[in-house]
């Protein structure tokens, strides 16, 4: 179950409800609800199960037009923003025509794409809120004639405690092309970065083990055996299992922070660009994109010595899979500054609330 925040015309939260991820909970109230709990109910509107405040919302007329305005929202942590638009969004098979929105956080801002959830619902869009930071505002794109009928802010699932391993680790072994992890006793054959530095295997999970990083399970690479253990991004196409997912979580690190476009391929033949943003692995360097620290080893390996003053980092980041369709592959960017050690698909509904950071 997820928490949906129903918002008013100013995108201020006016009500909160628990929903199934399979439903869309969207409602712009004409006025703030009174002291009584609103009589929310699901209605079947335009083929969607929509949570409405009876009777008859969302309205036929848009609450506001999309004119490129900045809309402040109730500050909070969210995973998704759902918008029900009055006009169908363009739906290029390659996402080339997707409109851009700007997400404003307390101390950061990111562009994201506004695109339809699926082709059956061309008026419903969802926007990923990738950072686990306080979101404060969103700048809508200028869309000729289109307005917002309804909107919902969806919070991250709450930790379910015992529930675990709902994610589906992706096998990256066939694509690994870089030795970034070595035993401290015999460094020298690897080169995570251009200076031949590597992570010490002793400070990381066992090769091939299943490890949870904040509730998300990852299959740790076959590290420490002089075999490639990570992917230096060179445009590889990674096969996925063809199931539906909301996020692709990754264990990653970069040589100086970088960001680039990763392309998600869906079962219907369409593909969509998404942002992959990864911070620097270098010691004494904070995460830039809101990633969670997955591992910080006690030292860094140099070809001729072990330096205990240089503890490098591996980050947990996530990439949104905006379309609610079966994902069959991702094509990584050709950006050799970015390295991936592991990846896991997570379907929030199936996760049962276990995907809290």
């Amino acid at each position: 179950m997820l928490t949906a925040h129903v918002v008013d015309e100013a995108l201020s939260v006016v009500a909160e409800t628990r929903i199934s991820d399979r439903d869309y909970a969207m409602c712009l109230t004409a006025e703030a609800p009174g002291s009584d709990t609103p009589a929310w109910r699901y209605e079947n509107l335009a083929g969607l199960r929509v949570l409405t405040q009876a009777p008859g919302r969302p309205a036929a007329d848009p609450a506001f037009r999309c004119r490129g305005q900045l809309v402040g929202i109730t500050a909070g942590r969210y995973d998704w923003i759902y918008l029900w638009l009055s006009e169908p969004l363009g739906d290029d098979a390659d996402g080339a025509g997707d409109a851009e929105v700007w997400l404003h956080y307390q101390d950061a801002a990111d562009p994201e794409w506004l695109r339809t959830v699926d082709r059956e619902n061309p008026c419903v869009a969802r926007i990923p809120v990738t950072r686990p930071d306080q979101l404060t505002a969103i700048r809508l794109p200028a869309l000729a004639g289109a307005g917002v009928l309804a909107a919902t802010l969806v919070s991250p699932p709450r930790s379910g405690g015992a529930a675990a391993f709902d994610g589906r680790p992706v096998d990256l072994t066939p694509y690994a092309n870089c030795v970034g992890i070595e035993p401290s006793a015999r460094p020298g054959s690897g080169a995570f970065n251009i200076w031949y530095n590597t992570f010490p295997a002793e400070d990381l999970p066992a090769a091939g083990s299943l490890v949870r990083v904040g509730s998300v399970p990852f299959r740790f690479p076959l590290a420490g055996a002089a075999e490639p253990d990570n992917i230096r991004c060179r445009g590889q196409r990674i096969a996925l299992d063809g199931s539906r997912a909301d996020w692709l979580h990754v264990l990653a690190a970069a040589e100086r922070r970088s960001e680039d476009v990763l392309r998600v391929h869906y079962a219907d033949g369409s593909s969509r660009p998404q942002w992959l943003r990864v911070s620097d692995f270098w010691p004494e360097t904070a995460a830039r994109f809101g990633e969670q620290l997955a591992f910080r080893t006690a030292s860094m390996l140099y070809p001729n010595h072990v330096d205990r003053r240089m503890p490098p980092a591996i980050w947990r980041q996530r990439v949104p899979l905006t379309a609610r369709d079966r994902a069959v592959a991702v094509t990584l960017p050709d950006n050799p500054a970015i390295h991936l050690f592991a990846a896991t698909l997570v379907d929030e509904a199936a996760a049962g609330g276990a995907v809290a950071p």
């Binding site: 200076w195 445009g235 904070a286 960017p333």
Partner: protein, 346 residues
């Protein structure tokens, strides 16, 4: 005699290197905010005739290195090249004794606090802010990880400053084969610091935009031959294409050239993005914050470019195609960032 200058503060930005970090220490000593001073200038200029294999290389439009780094603040710096090691320490000591911390060029191979100690040669820069004659020590600071601030035996510092900085191993990349030669620099602080207000902001952004888009921006003299220098957005595009062309022709040295030039471009772009973001937050200007983020995206392209050329040594022609693609998207995103800055100016 012992001197330890107060007011040396830690400062580091993750996309910069020892040049910006040392300048930040020297500016901070004079009470200046490093981000405000070093983050204002943003442009593209490169003269291949002036390329130097140094971590602190910066393609200078002006005679002064700091003046080129911080063109809106009336600051300057001066390089000194002493005759020998003895003069090298005497001059640095005199400067510090007179109340001026200085930057000194060093070879990390000789510095025990650097991970490259006795391993890799490179042309690095640190700050000297004190000395103890009796102990025979200099007081130095180096915020580049692993950060170090403390005493360093003068004989060790001298070895680092007199190193021929040779290419002695396969990892002596990019910043070697350029003797250190005891060089050191000091800075001249501004007589008046501009207020970080809206007027200054507009002036700086407008000047940066002009630098990218106007004024014979590619140094083209109309002779029909390629101009010697690369300037502005057009020059940036030509530089990127030329590096790809050279790699396509199998010229390995283009990897070094691309890597060394990309370093300061990455640093200034990343720093300028943070400068704009700070201004956007101070003035509550969401458009400016978005423009800042677009500039940051350009910096992230340079992160990618830098590693792409650094890894091109083994098979330079294979790197050419991906670099052309990178060049196209980098320049397109750069152009868009300039548009967003234009829009933010209103």
């Amino acid at each position: 005699m012992r001197v330890e200058l107060d007011g040396i503060r830690y400062w580091r930005h993750d996309l910069t290197g020892c040049l910006h970090i040392t300048m930040a220490a020297l500016l901070g000593y004079h009470g200046l905010d490093p981000l405000e001073v070093l983050g204002a200038g943003w442009g593209f200029f490169y003269d291949p005739r002036e390329l130097r294999r140094e971590e602190y290389y910066f393609p200078c439009r002006q005679k002064s290195l700091l003046g080129s780094l911080a063109p809106y603040h009336g600051v300057s710096s001066r390089w000194h090249q002493p005759e020998d090691a003895e003069a090298g320490w005497r001059e640095v000591r005199e400067a510090v004794a007179s109340g001026r911390p200085v930057g000194v060029a060093v070879d990390n191979f000789q510095l025990p606090f650097r991970p490259a100690y006795q391993d890799v040669h490179t042309n690095h820069m640190i700050t000297v802010f004190g000395f103890d004659d009796e102990r025979g020590e200099a007081l130095v600071t180096d915020p580049v990880p692993p950060r170090f601030t403390g005493p360093l035996d003068i004989s060790v510092l001298t070895r680092a400053r007199t190193s021929p900085n040779p290419i002695a191993g396969e990892r002596d990349l990019f910043f070697t084969a350029n003797p250190i030669a005891n060089r050191w620099l000091d800075i001249e602080p501004p007589t008046q610091v501009p207020e970080f207000d809206r007027d200054f902001l507009r002036e700086v952004i407008a000047a940066n935009l002009r630098g990218y888009r106007e004024g014979g921006d590619d140094g083209d003299d109309g002779s029909g031959t390629d101009p010697a220098t690369y300037q502005g957005l057009a020059g940036e595009r030509r530089f990127l294409d030329d590096i790809a062309d050279k790699l396509a022709a199998g010229r390995t040295e283009a990897a070094d050239e691309g890597f060394v030039v990309a370093g300061p471009v990455l640093a200034t772009t990343g720093l300028h993005a943070d400068w704009l973001a700070r201004a956007g937050r101070i003035f509550g200007d969401a458009r400016l914050i978005e423009a800042a983020r677009a500039v940051e995206r350009v910096a992230h392209h340079w992160s990618a470019f830098r590693i792409a050329v650094a890894t091109a040594r083994e098979a330079p022609p294979d790197a050419a195609g991906p670099l052309r693609t990178r060049a196209a998207t980098l320049v397109a995103d750069h152009d868009r960032a300039l548009d967003l800055l234009d829009r933010a100016l209103g």
